[in-house]
């Protein structure tokens, strides 16, 4: 029941926005729909706390501790981003970068995007996960090109075609998975693509087919995660679209894609009985961390800078999932949560900073703290949080991941530390003069929404010192599930 409501609200919101999305109160309505989604997600979470995992609609949907926390996170960031998008899009409207008619597209696609991600997260059917992932991409393509500038069209085209080809690989992987499953579960009925059923018989799935399937699934969903060398679309799509979209792409879509990869990894590892899939995740993850850390130095555009930082953090998450084991998985899940909260907070601050400076080029953004201390501090604290400074949650998760790496794969630790150091120097060196120094900022016609920034950073701070028991329990249970225990 909660599930139907949860999925119906954003779809309804999309339908509403298609009709009335250009009204003056549409941004508020968008927030209201997102708030309703968040309440439904909270109700769902309460039910899982009370009753544990359950499946619905003929087992097509399945809720367990692993996806319920991502559902809650998605609904939460979806809501706070809609709050941020209210003043942000009004300012863009006044600056003449978008027309009222385009806001209709924007609002309806925003809701559709959230709906697609929630379907991908809650679906038990590997085929439906694929369909929802593709739908999530398609709903954001026209948002990346919202400003109709040559650069945004190029970014949108890259996003469309690279993710399209990537996701076609994932479809082939899914076909192979079905091929292997059909031998064990039978092709009649629907059960051969249901994750819970597959997980039950993973030991008897044909290893040769599953390892081939995993290569395609990893490349396919890995394109969406932004793993190097499949990451080309990511910085462009983040930099050229409206900032609320950058926030949800970075904070949510990457997580959902990582979730799909991990679900596949659990199956394949169970079938192969060898750590090969984990090793592949580690290799892709480590490579992404290193490459992204060095690319950070070459960025001039502030949104590209933080897009590369997202690639780096997704690399860390993939590396941790690759190591496996309850502790590393716990760290990876925590890192997914804190990265999502911190990165979206940073994009909120970056959005307003770029509007104040009238440019996304970092050399033209100076002295934010003089004119608007809140934007300046938001950006500074967000940057410190994402760089893993101690009281924040990112430190806790990176600490867990690094200590596990030290114990199990000691050779990787210096590489990770080096990459983190390089990233620290690159981002801190860029952010410092933007926040302090002589100001170039202007006043904005609408007061910026900074409550979401500090709410997110507050949560990240809290997760750094104290994790609520029910959340810790979810992380622990999903960490065991992913470890195949």
């Amino acid at each position: 029941m909660e599930l139907i409501v949860l999925l119906a609200i954003p779809l309804l919101g999309a339908a509403w926005a298609t009709a009335f999305g250009e009204r003056s109160y549409a941004p508020e309505a968008n927030s209201a729909f997102s708030l309703a989604t968040l309440i439904a997600a909270a109700a769902l979470a309460m039910r899982v706390i009370g009753e544990g995992s359950f499946s619905a609609a003929d087992e097509q949907f399945f809720i367990d501790p692993f996806n319920v926390f991502l559902v809650t996170l998605t609904a939460f960031v979806g809501f706070t981003t809609s709050l941020f998008s209210r003043p942000y899009m009004r300012i863009e409207l006044e600056h003449g970068r978008v027309k009222p008619r385009q806001l209709r597209l924007y609002h309806s696609m925003y809701q559709l995007f959230v709906a697609a991600m929630l379907i991908a997260l809650t679906s038990n059917n590997m085929g439906l996960i694929w369909v929802a992932m593709e739908a999530a991409t398609l709903s954001t393509v026209l948002l990346v090109t919202l400003y109709r500038t040559p650069a945004s069209l190029e970014a949108g085209w890259k996003y469309f075609i690279l993710c399209g080809v990537g996701i076609a690989q994932a479809l082939f992987g899914t076909i192979l998975l079905y091929f292997a499953a059909e031998k064990v579960l039978g092709g009649e009925g629907m059960s051969a693509l249901l994750w819970t059923h597959l997980n039950g018989v993973k030991g008897s799935l044909e290893p040769a087919v599953l390892s081939l399937a995993f290569v395609f699934l990893l490349v396919g969903y890995g394109t969406k995660v932004g793993l190097v060398p499949l990451h080309n679309w990511l910085p462009d799509a983040h930099a050229e679209g409206p900032t609320p979209i950058s926030a949800v792409l970075s904070g949510l879509l990457l997580n959902v894609a990582a979730y799909a990869v991990v679900r596949c990894k659990v199956l394949v590892e169970g079938s192969l009985g060898s750590p090969l899939p984990g090793r592949m995740l580690m290799a892709f993850g480590l490579f992404s961390v290193i490459v992204a850390a060095f690319f950070l130095w070459r960025q001039r555009d502030i949104k590209r800078l933080f897009a590369y930082s997202s690639i780096e953090h997704m690399g860390i998450i993939m590396f941790a999932f690759g190591m496996g084991g309850p502790v590393a998985n716990f760290g990876a899940l925590l890192h997914m949560t804190v990265h999502s909260l911190t990165k979206s907070a940073i994009f909120f601050a970056v959005g307003h900073a770029a509007q104040k400076a009238g440019s996304q080029v970092m050399d033209e953004i100076r002295g934010l703290i003089t004119l608007s201390p809140t934007v300046g501090w938001g950006l500074m604290l967000g940057a410190l949080a994402i760089l893993g400074l101690p009281p924040f949650g990112v430190f806790a998760s990176e600490f867990l991941i690094l200590t596990t790496a030290m114990r199990e794969h000691a050779w990787a630790t210096p590489i990770l530390l080096l990459a983190l150091g390089v990233a620290f120097a690159a981002i801190f060196g860029r952010v410092q003069p933007m926040v302090f120094g002589e100001t170039t900022a202007k006043r904005l016609p609408h007061s910026p929404a900074l409550v979401p920034v500090f709410a997110h950073l507050g949560l990240v701070l809290m997760l750094g010192v104290f994790i609520p028991p029910s959340l810790a329990e979810w992380f622990r249970l999903s960490a065991q599930l992913i470890a195949g225990l």
Binding site: L142, F179, R300
Partner: protein, 222 residues
């Protein structure tokens, strides 16, 4: 060599034609002809699915064939032809590698694809397992088509051809995916093409052309 039943012989002939069409698309430089080849490929897929439905008596394959007919033979080619007329893109003269080179590359890809499909085909119990290698080859050839073209329209045709290859693979390995997945995929492809239509007009409005070399400015060293 044992005698194959007649319907399987036809099915194998369809698979061979399917591969041949992928090569034709690789060489074809007129966009209109490319779309026609795509429609023809869809028709072959539809015929093969129908034949298989008749042979195995699985009703969901009939629906799948109907879906293929409606979407890939009728609607998408119609939409693409309309876009071509409205946008006036008829030729894709610029290839990154010349036709002979692409063809030779294509031959190597087919050999590679059959090698890749060998372990899957060995495990498959379907009557059509010989076609799995062909499906993989078509997917890779479509990928090559996408890489070697400059015009957005030909890349899209390559993308759809890849989708056809994937469906052909699903059909020959497992007699198709579950209905709900096939419906979902079809919906996604349909929406993707509609999004693309809008997108093409945006690109044209901005650049007066659908040539992708306009879309190469976002590099790291800007």
């Amino acid at each position: 060599m044992s005698e194959l039943p007649f319907d399987l012989q036809i099915l194998n002939a369809l698979a061979a034609l399917f591969l041949l069409l992928a090569f034709a698309m690789l060489a074809q430089r007129r966009v209109v002809a490319l779309v026609n080849l795509l429609a023809f490929q869809g028709a072959l897929l539809c015929a093969a699915t129908l034949l298989l439905a008749y042979r195995t008596g699985q009703t969901h394959l009939y629906f799948s064939a109907l879906l293929t007919l409606a979407l890939k033979v009728v609607f998408l080619p119609w939409l693409l032809h309309r876009l071509i007329r409205r946008l006036g893109v008829y030729w894709d003269s610029e290839q990154l590698i010349n036709t002979t080179g692409t063809m030779l590359l294509g031959l190597l890809i087919v050999i590679f694809a059959f090698g890749l499909a060998q372990p899957i085909a060995a495990l498959a119990s379907t009557a059509t397992r010989n076609a799995i290698g062909i499906a993989v080859a078509v997917v890779l050839l479509a990928f090559l088509t996408m890489i070697t073209r400059r015009k957005a329209m030909s890349q899209v045709v390559g993308f759809l051809s890849m989708e056809n290859g994937l469906f052909f693979g699903a059909m020959s390995a497992t007699y198709g995916m579950p209905m709900i997945v096939e419906l979902g995929v079809a919906l996604d492809v349909l929406v993707a093409m509609l999004v693309l239509g809008v997108f093409f007009f945006q690109i044209r409005e901005q650049f007066d052309s659908l040539d992708l070399h306009h879309l190469e400015s976002l590099k790291e060293e800007q």
